[in-house]
C-alpha cells in the first residue's frame, strides 16, 4: 500500500515536472523576445560604443564591424537568428570581454550562485526560526523583538546595510574583510571564501529573512487554530511536538511559495550587493554590460537568470507536494 502511494506520488511529481518544463518553453521565448526588444529600444548601441572606444572613424571599418556582429540585418532577423542560436546553446559573442557570452557569464556565475544560495539559506533559516519563536511567544518581548528586527531589516536598503556592516565589522572591529571573494594572493580555500561570504550574505539575506519571519509568524498562528492541531493536542502530544511536527510543516507552505517567487528578486539584489562588496559575480558583469550596451551579455544573463527562476519554481512546486501530499490530488 505504502509502495503504491510512493509510486503514485513519484508519477505525479514527474507529471508536474514535465508540465512545468513544457510551460517553460513559451515563457523563455517571451523572456527572450521582450528583453531583446527592450534592449534594442534603448538609445546607443554597443557598436557605437565600441567604435568610440577604439576611435574608429573609417566608414568601411564600421561597416565591417556591423557585418561581423550581425547588426546589418533587420532587427526582426537578428531576433530570429538569436533564438535559433540559443536553441543550439550559442549565446553569442561578447565584444567587450572578447570571448563567448557563455564563457563571460560562466566566470562570474559560481560566485553569484554561491551568494544567492547562501543568502536564501540564511534568510530561510533565520526567517523561519524567528517566525516560529515569535508565534510561540506571541505578545511577549520575544515577539516584539522579532517584529522590530523584521521591520528594521525590511525597511533598510541592502546597500546601506552592507556599507554599515563593512564599517562596523571590517573597518572598526576588523573581524571580517571589506570586500572581495577571497584573500588576494593568499587565500582561496573554503574557509577563506566563507570568511568573505559572511557580510554579503547578511546584507542580502536579512531583508528576505525579515519577510519570511513576518509571513511565518502569521502562518504559524493561523495553522495553530486549525482542528487537526487541536486534535493533536487532545491526543496528549507535547507542545514542542505539535509545533514542530504539525504546525511548522503546514505553516511553511506560504514561505516556500514566496521563496520561489523571490528567486528573481534575489538575483537582482545580488547586482547591488556585488557592487558594494566587489563580489566577482554576474551582477557586476550585468551592470557593466547594461552601461556599455553589451546586448549579447545582457540577454545571456537574462536568459540564464530566467532559467534559474524557472528551476527554482519547479523545485518549490515539488517541495510543496512533499509538504502537502493533498496537492497532487488537486
Amino acid at each position: 500500500m505504502a509502495s503504491t502511494s510512493g509510486s503514485s506520488r513519484r508519477n505525479a511529481a514527474l507529471r508536474l515536472l514535465k508540465r512545468r518544463l513544457l510551460q517553460a518553453i513559451p515563457l523563455m521565448l517571451g523572456v527572450v523576445v521582450i528583453n531583446f526588444v527592450l534592449i534594442h529600444l534603448a538609445p546607443g548601441s554597443f557598436l557605437e560604443l565600441m567604435t568610440a572606444e577604439n576611435q574608429v572613424s573609417d566608414p568601411a571599418t564600421v561597416e565591417l564591424l556591423r557585418k561581423t556582429y550581425g547588426l546589418d540585418d533587420p532587427v526582426w532577423l537578428q531576433l530570429v537568428k538569436y533564438i535559433w542560436a540559443l536553441m543550439h546553446l550559442d549565446f553569442g559573442f561578447s565584444y567587450r570581454q572578447n570571448m563567448p557570452v557563455l564563457d563571460a557569464i560562466w566566470v562570474g556565475l559560481p560566485a553569484t550562485l554561491l551568494l544567492m544560495i547562501s543568502s536564501i539559506t540564511l534568510a530561510f533559516v533565520i526567517g523561519v526560526a524567528a517566525g516560529v519563536v515569535a508565534s510561540a511567544k506571541v505578545r511577549t518581548v520575544w515577539d516584539t523583538a522579532v517584529s522590530v528586527a523584521a521591520m528594521f531589516f525590511f525597511a533598510a536598503p541592502s546597500f546601506w546595510l552592507g556599507i554599515m556592516m563593512i564599517v562596523l565589522f571590517a573597518v572598526k572591529l576588523g573581524w571580517l574583510p571589506v570586500s572581495g571573494m577571497e584573500t588576494i594572493g593568499g587565500g582561496g580555500g573554503v574557509l577563506d571564501i566563507l570568511h568573505h561570504l559572511i557580510l554579503p550574505t547578511l546584507a542580502l539575506g536579512l531583508f528576505y529573512a525579515a519577510t519570511y519571519a513576518r509571513v511565518m509568524r502569521s502562518s504559524m498562528l493561523e495553522v495553530a487554530q486549525l482542528d487537526f492541531v487541536r486534535t493533536a493536542r487532545a491526543k496528549g502530544l507535547s507542545r514542542r511536538r505539535v509545533t514542530l511536527s504539525h504546525v511548522l510543516r503546514n505553516a511553511l507552505l506560504p514561505v516556500v511559495t514566496i521563496l520561489g517567487v523571490q528567486m528573481g528578486t534575489i538575483l537582482a539584489g545580488s547586482v547591488v550587493i556585488e557592487s558594494v562588496f566587489s563580489w566577482p559575480g554576474v551582477g557586476s558583469l550585468l551592470f557593466d554590460s547594461v552601461s556599455s550596451r553589451n546586448y549579447p551579455v545582457v540577454l545571456g544573463i537574462m536568459v540564464l537568470g530566467s532559467l534559474v527562476v524557472i528551476a527554482a519554481n519547479i523545485a518549490v512546486d515539488l517541495i510543496y507536494m512533499w509538504l502537502d501530499p493533498r496537492i497532487e490530488i488537486r
Partner: protein, 541 residues
C-alpha cells in the same frame, strides 16, 4: 596622446572635494616626505582607482582611463615626461630631429626584453608605430606621418610629410598608450581582438600573472627589467571596487594601499587624512588635467552670433559650481588650454566671468530681447551622464540661464546615449561634457575647434561644429612651427581667438586626487601618475 579619454567609466566626481584642504594635503605630504628613506624591497602593493574594471587589460586605442591604468604597468613607451617638464628616454635612449624637422632619429635602448624573454628590437618599434600607433593609439596625431624605417640595428627614423616640432614629437613618444608591443605576439592578428590584450606581454616593470574578472589583476615583479634594481616591490595588485564608500573602507582597513584618480569621496578624504595614517595629494595629474566643458551646437542658428555664445558663459557662476558640486576641488576654466599647462597656457584671454547683466545685454545686442515673461529662446541642454556631477551642474546651468531669460530643457542621458547624442547625432543645443588634455595642444586640444575635428561618431572631438578658416589655418601653422617661441605665440593667439569665440569652453578645470597610506613611498611622482609604470614605488615597514 591617442588615448583620448574616449569612453569614460561612470565615476563619481564628488570625489573631488573640500576634504583635502590644508590638513589633508599639506600636512600629510609633510608626513610622507618624512617617512622617505632607503627604499624597502619586497612586499605587495594593492592599488585601485576611482572607476571600474576595464573591458580589456590593454586596449590598443586607449579605451579610457581604466585600461590605461592597467596596461601602463606592463607596457612602456619610448619616452616619458618628468614632473619638471623635461622629456626623458624610456625605451628610447635619445632622439634627434633632422635639420628640416621632417624626420627624427630615435635610438632604441639595448638589452630590453619582453616578459616572454624575447628581446625588444627595432622591428617591434616599427611594428608598434606603423600598425598600432598609426591605426589606433595615435591616429589623429600621426596625420602627417610618412613612415618609419630602421637606421642600423639600434635606431629608427620617423618620417613626416611636414616639419614636426620637437615638443610635439617628444609628446608623441610619451603618449598615454603609445606603447612598444611585441611584434611576435601581434603581427598577423587583429590587434583589437588579440587574446594577448587580456594577458599582455610587455617590457614594463610588472609581469601579468592573473586577471580575476570582477575582482583584480595580479602582476609580479619583472626580474629581467632593464632598469637594474627595479621594481622595488614583488607584487602589484590592481583591485576594482565599484563603490567609493567601499573603496574608502578598504583603504581605511588597510586592504588597499593607494587609490588614484579620485578613489573616494571628499568627506572620506578629510576623515582619513585626519588620522595621520593616510595622505592625499593632487600631484600626478599635471599632464592629464580634466575639465568640465560647455559646448554650443553651432548648427543651431541661435548660436550664429558670438554674443550669444559668450552670454552662455557670463550667465553661469562657475565659482559656485566649484564650491558646491566639486567641494572646492575645481577652478573656473579660462580658455581651451588649461592653467597647469606650463608650456602654452596664457591667462590673457577674453574673460567670461560671471556677470548676468552682461549676459542679458549680450543677448539683447544679438537680437534676442526679453519681452515680459516670455523666453528669449529655448535650448536643449544635455548633461552627459558619465559623471554624476554633470547632472548636478546641468540643474544649476538650467536655473542660471533661465535667470537671463533663456528657456532650458535639461536631459541627463547615460553614457552610451550621451555619446550617441553628442558625437553621432549632434542632438543637443548645449552639452555639458568633459575632456582631458595633455600639454601638447595638437591635436588633442585643437581638434575640438578645427574642421578636421568634425568626425561624426567619434567622441571627444569637435561636436560643436565650430570652424573658421582663421582657426584652421592657425592650427596648421602650429602643427609645423619648429621654433618654440614662435609656436608658443601662435598657441597664445589660438587661445585668445577661441575664448572670444566661445564655441566650447571649460566651465571648470578639475583637480584630481590620489589617496594613499603613509607607508606608500615614491608615489605621485609622474605628471600622469595613473598612466605611469610605478617601477619605483615602495612600502615602508
Amino acid at each position: 596622446m591617442g588615448n583620448k579619454e574616449g569612453v569614460m567609466n561612470q565615476i563619481s566626481r564628488r570625489v573631488f572635494g573640500t576634504g583635502v584642504l590644508a590638513t589633508g594635503l599639506v600636512g600629510s605630504l609633510v608626513h610622507s616626505s618624512r617617512a622617505q628613506g632607503e627604499p624597502k624591497r619586497g612586499g605587495t602593493l594593492v592599488a585601485t582607482w576611482g572607476g571600474g574594471e576595464p573591458q580589456a587589460c590593454y586596449v590598443p586605442a586607449g579605451g579610457g582611463s581604466s585600461p590605461t591604468f592597467s596596461s601602463s604597468k606592463l607596457f612602456e613607451r619610448l619616452g616619458n615626461r618628468k614632473m619638471t617638464g623635461e622629456f626623458v628616454g624610456e625605451l628610447a635612449e635619445e632622439w634627434k630631429p633632422a635639420p628640416d624637422f621632417k624626420s627624427y632619429t630615435v635610438k632604441i635602448r639595448k638589452g630590453v626584453k619582453f616578459h616572454d624573454g624575447k628581446p625588444m628590437t627595432v622591428d617591434d618599434v616599427i611594428y608598434s608605430v606603423s600598425e598600432i600607433w598609426k591605426k589606433y593609439a595615435a591616429a589623429p596625431a600621426l596625420s602627417d606621418f610618412a613612415g618609419i624605417e630602421t637606421s642600423g640595428d639600434d635606431a629608427v627614423v620617423f618620417k613626416f610629410n611636414k616639419p614636426t616640432p620637437e615638443f610635439f614629437f617628444a609628446s608623441l613618444l610619451c603618449g598615454n598608450v603609445n606603447y612598444i608591443v611585441p611584434k611576435h605576439v601581434y603581427a598577423g592578428t587583429d590587434p583589437v581582438t588579440n587574446p594577448a590584450n587580456n594577458a599582455p606581454i610587455g617590457t614594463g616593470p610588472w609581469k601579468f600573472k592573473e586577471w580575476v574578472r570582477g575582482s583584480h589583476f595580479e602582476y609580479v615583479k619583472n626580474e629581467s627589467y632593464w632598469r637594474p634594481g627595479f621594481p622595488y616591490m614583488d607584487r602589484l595588485i590592481i583591485r576594482y571596487v565599484r563603490d567609493p564608500a567601499g573603496r574608502a573602507a578598504a583603504i581605511e582597513a588597510g586592504e588597499i594601499h593607494i587609490g588614484v584618480f579620485n578613489p573616494i569621496a571628499p568627506p572620506d578624504i578629510k576623515r582619513l587624512t585626519a588620522t595621520g595614517k593616510f595622505v592625499a595629494t593632487s600631484k600626478g595629474y599635471e599632464e592629464s588635467v580634466w575639465a568640465t566643458t560647455l559646448e554650443c551646437n553651432m548648427r543651431n542658428p541661435v548660436f550664429a552670433k558670438t554674443e550669444v555664445r559668450q552670454a552662455m558663459f557670463h550667465a553661469i557662476d562657475r565659482n559656485l559650481i566649484a564650491k558646491t558640486v566639486y567641494y572646492g576641488y575645481a577652478r573656473p576654466g579660462t580658455g581651451p588650454i588649461f592653467s597647469p599647462n606650463k608650456e602654452f597656457f596664457t591667462p590673457d584671454t577674453y574673460k567670461t566671468g560671471f556677470d548676468p547683466k552682461k549676459a542679458a545685454a549680450l543677448l539683447d545686442a544679438a537680437g534676442f530681447p526679453k519681452k515680459g515673461s516670455a523666453k528669449r529662446f529655448t535650448l536643449n541642454l544635455l548633461a552627459a551622464g558619465w559623471f554624476a556631477e554633470n547632472g548636478k551642474i546641468g540643474s544649476y546651468v538650467k536655473q542660471a540661464l533661465e535667470d537671463v531669460g533663456v528657456g532650458i530643457n535639461l536631459t541627463v542621458p547615460d553614457r552610451p546615449s550621451s555619446i550617441k547624442r553628442i558625437y553621432t547625432d549632434y542632438d543637443f543645443d548645449l552639452a555639458i561634457s568633459n575632456q582631458s588634455n595633455p600639454s601638447e595642444p595638437v591635436p588633442t586640444t585643437t581638434q575640438y575647434y578645427t574642421s578636421d575635428g568634425i568626425k561624426k561618431g567619434i567622441p571627444f572631438r569637435n561636436a560643436s561644429g565650430f570652424h573658421t578658416d582663421e582657426v584652421d589655418a592657425l592650427v596648421e601653422k602650429i602643427k609645423i612651427e619648429t621654433d618654440p617661441a614662435k609656436r608658443k605665440a601662435m598657441v597664445v593667439e589660438f587661445q585668445k581667438i577661441i575664448s572670444k569665440e566661445a564655441p566650447l569652453l571649460p566651465l571648470l578645470e578639475l583637480e584630481s586626487t590620489t589617496v594613499a597610506s603613509t607607508k606608500v613611498q615614491n608615489h605621485s611622482n609622474d605628471p600622469n601618475y595613473l598612466a605611469a609604470s610605478w617601477h619605483d614605488i615602495w612600502m615602508a615597514s
